[in-house]
């Protein structure tokens, strides 16, 4: 046996888990409840300005990419738990995560 390179998958998984635990609920609270109820208004200018700032970009990217990776990794493990293993599942999970991450990155660069 040899030491594994799993940390490359696991570190962002663990980080993503923490990020998801800390901020995903409040984000959903905002977009899923407060905005539809009209409690707050997400106006374009503020958001765009935030997304313009390098630190804002970083925060937004982290909030999307890390939980996305977390989700992909966990789903792959769960698929395995359910008896669905193999390269296909692996590609589907991590592939989707990469897609989300790249789209987010692209959008942030473009903003």
């Amino acid at each position: 046996m040899a030491k594994s390179n799993k940390p490359i998958l696991w570190l962002p998984f663990a980080g993503g888990g923490l990020v998801a635990a800390l901020i995903t609920p409040v984000l959903i609270l905002i977009t899923g409840i407060l905005v539809p109820l009209g409690v707050i208004h997400l106006n374009y200018e503020t958001i765009a300005a935030f997304a313009h700032h390098p630190i804002g970009k970083l925060i937004l990217f982290g909030a999307v990419a890390l939980p996305a990776w977390h989700a992909a990794h966990r789903l792959r493990m769960t698929a395995h738990d359910l008896g669905l293993g193999g390269g296909g599942v692996k590609a589907a999970c991590y592939g989707t995560a990469w897609l989300v991450i790249l789209v987010a990155a692209g959008a942030l660069i473009a903003t």
Binding site: T24, V26, L27, I28, T31, I33, H41, A71, L82, T111
Partner: protein
């Protein structure tokens, strides 16, 4: 030789056979909703990059009844994720102070405090 060890195969629905595995499966499935919500956010970022009108369309879409229902689901699972994640932190990161372990409740509690703080900051930034 008379030995003939009997191997029991693990069944596919093993996780239905004990409440603790069901709870585990639900915990794992939270990731599906976390992931979907991330995808929603990514789309939001694209719409944001596309300009004012696109953004408003996006806001309208996620505020529509189906969008709201979907996000409610996501919220329930996301909170379940947070709770289970924090509950496990003392195991992953135990602390020792002066040779005595810090009680797990304290570590979990600190995470709840952090959770509240982060949420408050985000809410304020969003203009509540």
């Amino acid at each position: 030789m008379s030995r003939r060890p009997y191997v029991r195969k693990i069944e596919r629905n093993w996780w239905l056979q004990h409440p603790r595995y069901v709870a585990y499966m639900i915990r794992e499935l939270t990731s599906l909703f976390v992931g979907l919500y991330c995808a929603l956010l990514a789309i939001g970022l694209v719409r944001l990059a596309q300009g004012h009108a696109a953004w408003d369309g996006f806001v309208a879409a996620f505020s529509s009844p189906p969008g709201v229902v979907f996000q409610w689901l996501c919220l329930v699972f996301a909170i379940y994720h947070s709770v289970t994640w924090f509950a496990l932190t003392p195991k992953a990161m135990p602390l020792m102070v002066k040779g005595e372990p810090v009680p797990g409740k304290l570590i979990v509690g600190a995470h709840y405090v952090a959770w509240a703080a982060v949420s408050a900051v985000v809410l304020m930034a969003a203009g509540v």
